[in-house]
Amino acid sequence: MARYSSLGAPGVHDDEVLYIQRPLPPADEGFRRRLWGFIITVLIGFCLLLGRTWQLQVMQGDYFLRLSEQNRLRSLRTKSLRGKILDRHGYVLADNRVAYTLMAIPADLPPNDQLLPLLRTLNIDLDPEMLRPRRRLAALKPVPIQRDFPRDQVAYFAEHRMDFPGMFVEAEPLRTYPYGTLAAHLLGYLGEISELQLQHSKDLGYYLGDLVGQAGLEQVSEPVLRGQPGVRQVEVDALGRETQVIAARPATPGMDLVLTLDLQLQQLAEQLLEEHRGSIVAIDPRNGQILALASKPAFDPNAFIPRLAPAMWRALSTDPHHPLHNRATQGQYPPGSVFKIVTALAALAEGVITPQSTVCCPGHYDYGGRTFHDWRPSGHGCIQLRQALTQSCDVYFYHLGQLLGIDRLAHHANALGLGQPTGFTVGLEKSGLIPSSQWKRQALGQPWYAGETISVAIGQGYTTVTPLQVANMLATVANGGTLYKPSIVLRQETLHDPAPPDTPPTVLHQLRVPPQHIAAVQQGLWSVVNDPRGTGKQAHHDQIAIAGKTGTAQAVPLAERSRKEPLPEQYRDHAWFAAYAPFEAPRIAIVVMIEHAGKHGGDFAGYAKTLIEAYLRQSYPVAAMPLHTTKFTR
């Protein structure tokens, strides 16, 4: 047995005593001293630990408590359900469908090198940096990774949820337009909110990635359609999973917009336009309500939801026919002979003629050494106002223009709503141009030449108008002289107030023209359709009294036209036909405008007749069947 040297003296075995204490001998005093030093070092270390913990817990306790609450509590927004858009009869034009969105809380996402393969397993190709917010606090706000997440991926994600920290799937209503391209320009579309928009709407509770109205009614009525988002304060764990709801305020759904639009009339109008580029506007002359507003070519707003594919955007924005362009409010065209209504009213109002004044038309008009031709080279003979309108005699109106002078003509054109925006709120509206001597001085720095008035009198020259302006002008003539502001929203419905009164019409202007003068013009318009010599006789209907006016507008000055036949498309004439019915108590005014039709306005009078007949009888050749009907119910 090996004996280890002990610290004590050599063992003294004492048989009497059972045991004795053998403390360390004083010889090893240094050992004891160092032991003391050792334990004191340890205790100093412990004091350090306690001191630091005191600092964290007692001195900075409140600060860290706040931080731990920030860790734990998240204020999540509950989105409000976007209001629907319906036509005047209740057909749903813009609806919500169920879609799944893959969301992320940036603060809880794993680092990029782990995130990238995770996203790949979900077939998402995305730069993870896109999910990193610039501001630190924003890292706690959820952002969408992919909208309209395919269902099979949703199932996969749900099964492997634990593998995807910081991500969750949210059922989200997405916008859908059941009728596809129908009224696309009016409805507009949604798009992700831009940084700039986000800055401008700071207090409205928008988050990055929110879909907001970016065009049309969706944009104009965004505050109404959106509703009031709710708030849920939840407790979350470190992976961002909710463990419990602490407080909640529910969201208020957006209001439903009921439009003045008649879905079936709109559908029919778009069908008629299918082969053309152009627009059709139908308006109720009694109140300025838009019944149809079609522009072709159009686009499918569904393509913008949830995000427009870049290729699609390129195709839409570089299309030479500008499908995003709303021709009814943004297309500015020379009105051609439709403008003769304005010239006639101006001449009567200014007293330069009476309805019985006679002008002889030899087929041309000479002024200042220049010859202005009538569309019929043989002339119309000696005629009064009614026949002048019926046959659309150019020489008669050249004469009126000469008698009126440009400024009086422009004054009355403005009074009828031309040359200025109608006040229609949806989308950017163009104002067209009604020239005057003052305008020419300011815009071109030149004096007005009397010869120029001659062209303006028949809606050529500098004159441009939008189809909506023409429709509103005609509605004013049809209702006896009241210019309404065109309206599109009939009422805004909520759950609490399902049937509020309709929005009252807004009167912009009351014409100061004696009723008999207006009646004289109306008589002329009736004859255009119902006289055998009328240029719009294709619109004649046996049961319905229709009045109207044709227009064939030169798209470019005659001199620029080449002599080639057939004319290149961009040189061909624009065709107009404006009509209203029933003649005695008008309920619809309609404008058909075909871009570069190469035909006379009268050739499209049949379109107006079809639309008027269908609308007044409320019998349409097509049923109003939506394309699909998946709905997101409240």
Binding site: A2, Y4, S5, S6, L7, G8, G11, H13, D14, D15, E16, V17, L18, Y19, I20, Q21, R22, P23, L24, P25, A27, D28, G30, F31, R32, R34, L35, F38, I39, V42, L43, G45, F46, L48, L49, L50, R52, T53, W54, L56, Q57, V58, Q60, G61, D62, Y63, F64, L65, L67, S68, E69, N71, R72, A107, E235, D237, A238, L239, T243, Q244
Partner: protein, 374 residues
Amino acid sequence: MAFDRRLATNFDWGTLILSLAIITLSIILLYSATSDRTEGPSGMHVKQLMWMGVGLASMFVVLCIDYQTLCRHAYVLYGALLVSLIIVLLFGRVVNGSQRWLVLGPWHLQTSELAKPVLILVLARYFTEHTPAGTAPLTYRDLPLPLLLVGLPFILIVKQPNLSTAMVLVVILCAMVLIIGLQGKTLCTLLLLSASALPLAWSLVLKEYQRERLLTLLNPQPDLLGLGYHSWQSKIAIGSGGLWGKGLLAGTQSRLSFLPERHTDFIFAVLAEEVGFVGVVLLVGLFGCLLVHGFTIAYRSRDRLGALIATGVVAMLAVQIFLNIGMTIGLVPIIGLPLPLMSYGGSSLVMTFLCLGLLMNVRMRRFKFGVFPS
């Protein structure tokens, strides 16, 4: 060797009661930290109780064998330790990128934990044999062999990699050397050498993540969501506990998983969050009592061998406690070191009980027993 009944009268109740008090705290906190709001307790505290049983049993086995006898077989134990470390390196189970676990049926053992008590015994024996009481302080000539003794398991453990456990072995060696006494000149030389070796260690020994952890310690604020995350969340947990704590089962940082490794390395943060500064004082106080008690055992031990064993155990416990708590409160870098008697984990707990067994062993035999004439 027959067990002398008189030993029972000298039983070291102090160590037993203190360690049982600490482990009771640990079981309560494990119950709290690992039970789910909806699914209830995870059962980890029960498992830990079982490990405590195993630990107590092995403690009593160690207790019964005279530490002198144990030291006689120290080199055999040392050999067995090296073999087990090599086996782990070759066949061990990889968890979290470290090959630390030896699978024995249902038990997963971290054999590196065993290195601590074995090395305490080996070093105590070596120094007692080679530097009897009253000899001159150690010089650099006395150091190569102890360094080799520590170096072999050190390298094997660093290989796993488990740098923190390996460092504890070095601390045990240093403590013993300093207690025995080191020549002033040698001490200075060693200090200078290690200071100059620091840059080398920085670039050669430390792995990238270890370097980052060290840097993060210096400035944890800029990267709270990245490398500084654990340290920061731990500080939030501790700080938010305040004076009285949020209450058991009510710690949000731990229960909502903001706190990493809450039932193992960061159990102290759970304590601080749920029981507050009061609980911290209680635990640190208990640890302090245990260490002071260990110190008196060393101070009053029968011989130099016992004193060195007790010193080794106290040093080992002290450094683990200091580094673990220091790491949770942001005083030292994040290192994977369990808090003795508190952290969940069988190997660590059983090892701690083994070491406490050694301590009690020394304490019980501090008296010389009369040998009856045969």
